[in-house]
Amino acid sequence: MNGRVQHAVARLLGYIGLLIVLALVLAPIAFMVAGSLKPDARVLVEAGGLAAFLPAGASLDNYRDVFARVAFPRYLFNSLFISALIVIGGLVVNSLAGYAFARLAWRGRDVLFSLVLVVMIVPLEAIAVPLFYQVTLFGWRDTYLVQILPFVANAFSIYLFYTFFLGLPRELEEAARLDGAGVLRTFLMIILPNSRPVFATVAILTFLTQWGAFMWPLLVTSGEAVRPLPLAIATFYTLPPLQWGDIFAFGVMMVAPILVVFLVFQRWFVRGVATTGIKG
């Protein structure tokens, strides 16, 4: 075999490998979409074969069911509202904190930054009970605030901003200072426009995490007024009848906004993953 043939075979094998991975990733989503369009009785029956992916006899009945059974628009608004505020607040707070850690000299900076690194490895589950106790004392149960405020400042986001800002040439900021810009203006006019990738990365990662939030809202809310989507889909398991078609339809509608967000930010996100060296 000469080199060219070898090269072509290697490429072919590479593509086959990628196709397998792609199929594995897409299969559950295809199953969900197909199932959401089928009569409920056929969803599980056909789940064992290729028919699982074919929406024969498609109808929108399941979607109608979802709207009839729960106040879907209300939950959707709650989820969007909560996630959006966490993302926006998080971008402001964490980028400023990351910048302060990366570039400004102040007393106690290094100690505080080590604390941030420590906090990064503490999962929410570990502090959920004391936090629950605290917000109860504040009288914040059953509000948007209680679902937003604890998640705005985020150690991992701060760390991502920090590493990205460290990589920016210091001379840019020094030039801006000499040109007459103060710290905040330097940040807004020079740093921010050159940091889109990290802003996109943090926005997407935050949004994904918050969109799927389940445990905390379950602890601190009751009723549909302020609850997000994941709690609503859970009611489909707990309140009979258990209808898989409805659950799949709900799932499709819940995943759609994530895809939109990702598509909008994907170009920067990919660059952000490349430049911050993190895995999505």
Binding site: P169, E174, A175, R177, L178, D179, G180, A181, I190, N194
Partner: protein, 371 residues
């Protein structure tokens, strides 16, 4: 326009590096001063202290008599051209030039007028809408200059502004910078590690080493009358040879004994405050410019040396010789190309006795040759 004074300026970094030690230096209104020295000598630190990007541990910075040591960079009205230009990548050339004016709240019409004027001066007119990454190195350099001049600052600082350019462009822009500075008449501090750049650009050159000022003066003065062996070796291309020797009294006056040769001092100047007699019978350092050596004609050879290597430059050749006397030093001679020289040859050498320099064993100059 401004007079800049650095008074006993000191800076030690957190890691213990003493970047500057009691630097005293004044730059006159409109003067072009070049700070030169090897990397790590503190020259960039001096510039950054003056700009306000670092704060000194001791000493004072004055601009036109006003102490600015505690002022922030934006309050000092100083412009700086960075080694990597530091153009704002997300802004067009026009926006880059306008930025310092916007920050200082100039009227829109005035900003447009000044940007236009700077663009014309630096021939940037056709590039105004481009982004920095679409420009060549030389163009970026000009934009950086433009951003410095638009707001008519009191002082220009330039930190190795040519080091990212190729050799030919460097010579071209070197001339442009000198002309521009003359036209604008703005007090300028220019930092470089390249002594050729320093000699060609500076009205005055200050040589720094290990955080200390070695000497400052007009380029020709540094070349002819170096204050110590460091300046002698740093200024000139290649620098002066300094070789261990002894000063002894001779029949016609003091003579330098070097590797068995006796070189009577002829002419030249004794450094003010020094007396040759004080060094009689002592070890000294003999300084020889590479062009004070030549191949001896019959009968005038003073000593001979073996050739290590030859660099032919076309109109001349640099010949690296084993220093006579087996001290292990290398002696560099600048010879014309009429004599064919190859490595391994032993050359009879003649030394121009009028061009001998003498330094004390500590390095300070004692005697300057005439050159």
């Amino acid at each position: 326009m401004a007079r800049v004074e650095l008074v006993r300026l000191s800076k030690t970094f957190a890691d213990g590096t003493r970047a500057l030690v009691d630097l005293d230096l004044a730059v006159d209104d409109g003067e072009f001063l070049v700070l030169v020295g090897p990397s790590g000598c503190g020259k960039s630190t001096a510039l950054r202290l003056l700009a306000g990007l670092e704060s000194p541990d001791g000493g004072e910075i004055r601009i036109d008599g006003e102490v600015v040591t505690a002022l922030s960079p934006q309050q000092r009205n100083i412009a700086m051209v960075f080694q990597n230009y530091a153009l704002y990548p997300h802004m067009s050339v026009r926006a880059n030039l306008a930025f310092p004016l916007r920050m200082r709240k100039f009227a829109r019409a005035e900003i447009a007028r000044r940007v236009q004027a700077a663009a014309e001066l630096l021939e940037l007119g056709a590039l105004l809408e481009r982004r920095p990454q679409e420009l060549s190195g030389g163009q970026r350099q000009r934009v950086a200059m433009g951003r410095a001049i638009v707001r008519e600052p009191r002082v220009f600082l330039m930190d190795e502004p040519l080091s990212n350019l190729d050799a030919r462009l460097r010579v071209q822009i070197r001339t442009d910078i000198a002309n521009l500075q003359r036209r604008l008449g703005t007090t300028t501090l220019y930092v470089t590690h390249d002594q050729v750049e320093a000699m060609t650009l500076g009205q005055r050159v200050a040589v720094l080493n290990a955080g200390r000022l070695q000497q400052s003066g007009e380029p020709q003065v540094l070349y002819r009358r170096p204050a110590n062996t460091f300046v002698a070796g740093f200024i000139g291309s290649p620098g002066m040879n300094t070789l261990p020797a002894r000063l002894e009294p001779g029949e016609t006056g003091p003579a330098v004994h070097w590797s068995g040769a006796v070189l009577p001092l002829q002419g030249g100047t004794t450094v003010p405050g020094r007396s040759l007699g004080d060094f009689s019978g002592q070890k000294v350092l003999l300084g020889l410019r590479p062009d004070a050596l030549r191949v001896a004609t019959a009968g005038e050879a003073i000593l001979s040396a073996t050739v290590q290597a030859v660099e032919a430059l076309g109109h001349e050749q640099l010949v690296y010789l084993d220093s006579p006397g087996g001290s292990g030093d290398t002696l560099i001679a600048r010879l014309d190309t009429r004599t064919r020289v190859t490595a391994g040859d032993t050359l009879p050498l003649h030394v121009d006795a009028a061009r001998l320099y003498l330094f004390a064993a500590t390095g300070e100059a004692i005697h300057w040759g005439s050159s």
